[in-house]
């Protein structure tokens, strides 16, 4: 059986409520995402604006093909979004270890050749905030994962979450505000 039908089958099982299917699907996807990412890097080391959402979509084209029903596509992207988040977090953790706790100053960087280092730190903070949001407002947290990590459109996210696109937009708005508040430490009366 080809990889494409294999992935599609797992996807269907997961959509139909089989949680174990997700456990099988994730490693396949994780490796594919990493492979695509490193492939892109190998091709173009500099000046390349690597987008996580593009990688997710490329994984989709490779693993499933383009000729699938629209709803399958949305569900695939949902899994891919979650996997992408995990991949980025793993990477940020590794980076942090490499730097012995990664206590980099979050100041404006002085030298020309030094931009955007503390990002991995911030991503971990964001991931943490997102996890906490999930306990408070699971759907809003999922919306962030789908839209920002996976690049799902509002409509696609709406299909996955079983709500309207307008609700997705509202979820995103409140989720982003919540996360930002948490990240800047300006917590209200939570």
């Amino acid at each position: 059986m080809s990889q494409s039908t294999d992935v599609t089958r797992l996807l269907h099982r997961w959509r139909d409520g089989d949680a174990a299917a997700l456990d099988e699907l994730t490693p396949v996807l994780y490796n594919e995402l990493r492979r695509i990412a490193s492939g892109q890097l190998a091709r173009e080391r500099r000046n390349h604006t690597l987008q996580s959402t593009e990688i997710v979509h490329e994984a989709y084209v490779r693993l499933i093909g383009t000729d699938v029903p629209w709803k399958d596509r949305a569900h695939f992207l949902a899994v891919a979004a979650r996997t992408m988040r995990r991949l980025l977090v793993d990477h940020a953790r590794a980076r942090g270890r490499e730097k012995r706790g990664g206590d980099l100053a979050r100041v404006t960087l002085q030298p020309s050749d030094a931009r955007a280092e503390p990002v991995s730190e911030e991503l971990l903070t964001l991931d943490d905030a997102l996890s906490r949001l999930a306990t408070q407002d699971g759907r809003a947290a999922s919306a962030v994962e789908l839209h920002h990590f996976g690049g799902l459109t509002y409509d696609e996210a709406a299909e996955v979450l079983g709500v309207s696109a307008a609700t997705v937009k509202r979820d995103l708005r409140v989720a982003r505000a919540w996360i930002r508040r948490e990240m800047t430490g300006a917590a209200g009366a939570a």
């Binding site: 080391r45 990688i55 100041v107 407002d137 409140v174 209200g188």
Partner: protein, 889 residues
Amino acid sequence: MQPDRWRRAREIFDRVSDLEPEARAAALEELAGGDDELRREVESLLVASGEAETDIPRLIGAAARSALATNDGGTVMPGATVGPYRLINLLGRGGMGSVYLAERADGAFSHRVALKVLRSGLSDTGMEARFRSERQILADLRHPNIARLIDGGTTDDGAPYLVLEYVEGRPIDRWCDEQRLTVEQRLDLFREVCAAVQSAHRNLVVHRDLKPANILVTADGHPKLLDFGIAKLLGPTTHDHTMAITGTLDRLLTPAFASPEQVVGKPVTTASDVYSLGVILYELLAGSTPHVFANPSATEVERVICRDVPDRPSLTVRRSAGTPAGAETARLRRSTPDRLVRRLSGDLDTIVMTALRKEPDRRYPSVEGLSEDVRRYLTALPISARPDTLAYRARKFVSRHRGSVVTSAVGVAAVMVFGVQSAVNARIATVERDRARAAEERARVEAHTSEKVSSFLVDLFRVADPSESRGADVTARELLDRGAAQLDAGLADEPATRARLLKTVGEVYTNLGEYDEAAELLAESVGVLRSEDPSSPELPATLNELAKVRFDLGDIETADRLSREALAAARRSFQGDHRQTAMALNNLGWLAFEETRLADAERYHREALAMRTRLHGDEHDEVAESLFNLGTVALELERLDEAAELHGRGYEMRRRVLGDDHPLTLSSVGTVAATYEAQKRVAEALELIDGAMPTAIRVFGPDHPDVAYLEVMRGRQFRFLGRTDDAVASFREAARIERLSRGPDHPYVGYAEIQLGTVLVTAGRLDEAETAYREALRIYRAAYPEGDRNVANVLGKLAKLEIERGDGRTALDYARESRELFSRQLPEGHSELLEGDIIIGFALAEAGRTADARSMFESVLPRMEAIGHGDGPQARRVREALAALLGTS
């Protein structure tokens, strides 16, 4: 927070956020007034909300880039000491090494400093001595706007380090945007930068690496220049020629800001800083650097910086005026795109372009001169710089083409050089091949003809000096039309020159996509040669060119006849291998391909490739062409890996031999992308197209068929990536261009409309999709013979659309006609016919004719199994539909 409390907070947040900012406080008071905890919760969310809209996406994007990008850098850990300094923390890493925030370990000063540990070691004692003496010179440099070099030395590991004044600030480009400085404010700030650079120049120190990241603006709004002279300190020798070596260039220079003399390793002077300041001013005004490098290989950087004249700042702004990025650029300058274009046009364009001239001695003689012109502009005085005249540019490109350098200049010149260059190449090849046959006389005629051609073109440019045409750009097209008109009348007594010029101008029309005009001129040239000089070596070349144009006009029959005549003429005129013989073979290969005689096509192209390799060696644009054409045949034969290999080789060869902005290189981009697409390398395909598109538009003009093809290919990749809106925009643009350049009834318009329709269906925008499909249907019905497969194909698509829409009866009409047309062309049992039946089945189901649908599906399934499609996604869908029908009946 308790779940019900959170639900309440969210509800209020959602409602208040929907209101205008002014109305929010009152609404919040009303909704949560009595409950302090609730109100604070919502309030804090509202405060965070504004920035969160952009912050969170940006952070995730940056995290992805940073996490997925490789990283390497210095080895010193914070907490360690370097010389008398203790490192507090790492500020950043980069090509040069790592930079730390540090302080004196012995407490002698409380100052914090930036300590830069350089990655490159000092390989010998001579270098170390030089490092020390240069350091001393820099340490003496005192200016309030220049960050001081305080100290330096080597670490225990032998790595050199520098201690610099620590500056907290924002890079000048970001500062200007964040503060939304107006053009005037930016110019004032820029002059402060100039003053600091001037002061260093008076002390005979050249910066060598001026760029926004090296110019920080501190909180009080004044600039501070970093890393003065550091680039030289790090240069491996006292001369800079090693700068140009790959790797060294990468690490030490930022290509976008480096001057031509720097990238080729000529001496660096104060004029190099003038150039870099010009780039910075360009970016501060126009929002982007003059040259953007998609793929900054050392050779590309050198070629672009040394040869390509960038667009004027005002033109750059105008080009982006309709885009969100363009609007943002203007907004950040408290302006609108239109106002910004007007503001930059004229003096500011001239000032920037003067600073950016390729030749150091044609720039401002000093930073002071540049700064003074900016001041004069600000006070509405006439500036000292004068724009380049077109006549000057014409002289330049003619002198360049005499040197036989394949090159291109801006606008008109790019197009004309291409035409002239072909003629020159043809001449060189001809002279070489014919030497043995005592062609001295011929060569004299050639020389005379070439001289005439050159002076004709130069005259053309003189006439077109913008000072005579109110400063408006003279388009290449106007220039050509003028040239064609002159040819029409003149040169009757010099048939050789006339034939050559007709051919040259004809070729330029071809490159502009004006095929009708091109065909007319080339046919006339062929006519002159046939009657005046049938044995002329020019005849095969001109026939080949005309055949290509006829081919482009869709006139396959004439193209075939002309190509055969060209092959015969070439074999008659030249013995053995010859460039024009290979060209004729190549064209015949194309024609065979077009008529799907693929085996013939492959044979012709292989013969052409072999001959071209014998003639020109392994690196030549025509060898690249043959590789390409063979690749296209392989693609058609679905030998994908072979196709990708051949296309990849051909494309890279074109880039090396012709350059990235050569029309042929650009034309091949779409084909390479198609191969990538076939291999499902969608992101690569898109990246390739995006990289080439701006150049293609610049070189071809926005309405050229080649640009349309790139747009179609881009749209397809967008579609595969699920970027529906982008795909729609691309296909619409492609259809627009095809309509304009090929006429409203050309099949290529239909093709673009079908692509558009397909993506619109995916997006559920069925009405728009229907319009697109119907337009394609109209065009195809008129363009193709009765019952053609292309027509059947569109009908099938319309049927599927109606099924999607739920109109089973209309769907059924389309589906039946489609199936009928297919059945006239294809044998019974063909998968296309099966597909037709499946569509009919779905249409029946949608029309409520359950029993008919059921029996159709039941008849289809065994046939699918018979051809091995029994397990595919399509069969699955049929089974599901069948099951559903059985369930309801």
